[in-house]
């Protein structure tokens, strides 16, 4: 048991526990912060997988952008919303059943399959490879993605602005 393995297990457990917090926490604010922990844990996983750029990107974008956004939304809607029903969960048993079922199936899939493990990727910064990929093989999806982001930008502004206008008018 080397240090790496121990650290791996630690971070893995941390991630799962935080995810459980997201799932089971009654308070949505708690869930949001638990999510932050989860995302950090996932970034650690990326590090273990030698995806350094991705780990940083994860932290920056997910936690720095998305999570903050979610926190904003939570805060904006939490105050007035009824505390009683803000985070109550419904239909736990069926969900457990479904989730349990899927988990078992997929677990079987994971452990029964004889994965063909190929050559491991050489450790090292992956930024160069990713950049080459973006502007080489995957340039089209890259451009389309920027297009999508533009659409999202405009759409979000449109939705928000419309609400404001309606509220005022």
């Amino acid at each position: 048991m080397s240090l790496a393995v121990v650290l791996f297990y630690a971070f893995a457990i941390f991630t799962v526990v935080c995810a459980a917090g997201v799932a089971f926490s009654p308070n949505v604010v708690y869930s949001a912060f638990a999510l932050m922990g989860t995302l950090l844990g996932v970034a650690a996983m990326y590090v273990f997988l030698a995806a350094d750029f991705l780990a940083l990107a994860q932290v920056l974008v997910y936690i720095g952008g998305i999570l903050v956004l979610m926190l904003f939304a939570v805060m904006l809607t939490h105050r007035i919303a009824n505390v009683n029903i803000s985070n109550r969960s419904v239909g736990r048993l069926p969900a457990l059943l479904v989730v349990g079922g899927i988990t078992m199936i997929m677990g079987r899939a994971i452990y029964r399959t004889s994965w063909v493990v190929g050559t491991e990727l050489p450790d090292g910064p992956s930024t160069y490879a990713i950049g080459t990929g973006f502007l080489g093989t995957y340039v089209l999806p890259f451009e389309l993605a920027s297009f999508v982001l533009l659409a999202v930008l405009v759409g979000a502004v449109a939705i928000s602005r419309k609400e404001l206008r309606d509220a005022q008018g």
């Binding site: 949505v28 995806a51 990107a57 994860q58 993605a145 930008l153 939705i159």
Partner: protein, 103 residues
């Protein structure tokens, strides 16, 4: 890394997926559901990267993961804008409250 194999990462991803799915199915808070969706996406990302590392000698998986992150951000933005809109109209973000399209 010796001792840590593909199955470990896949297991982590599986657990995240299960928890995310559970969140989606049981939460009544709209933002809670969106969080569950983020969990699922992240689990998928872990899978991508794990397979990229152990399966082939390319960084394709990581590129996919970046795309996913990008689109997750976009989707979260729009989703939250919609949630705010719902909040304005229904004064609540309980998904059971927005049932005006029922029979």
């Amino acid at each position: 890394m010796v001792g840590i194999s593909l199955e470990h990462f896949l297991t982590v991803g599986l657990l995240l997926f299960a928890l995310g799915l559970y969140t989606v199915l049981t939460r009544r808070n709209a933002i809670g559901i969106l969080m569950g969706v983020e969990l699922i996406l992240n689990s998928a990302n872990i899978n991508y990267v794990a397979f990229a590392r152990y399966g082939g000698s390319s960084t394709d998986g990581q590129i996919f993961a970046i795309f996913v992150i990008m689109l997750a951000a976009a989707e979260a933005a729009v989703g939250l804008a919609i949630v705010l809109g719902i909040y304005k109209n229904f004064d609540s973000i309980d998904v059971e409250a927005t049932d005006t399209l029922r029979y």
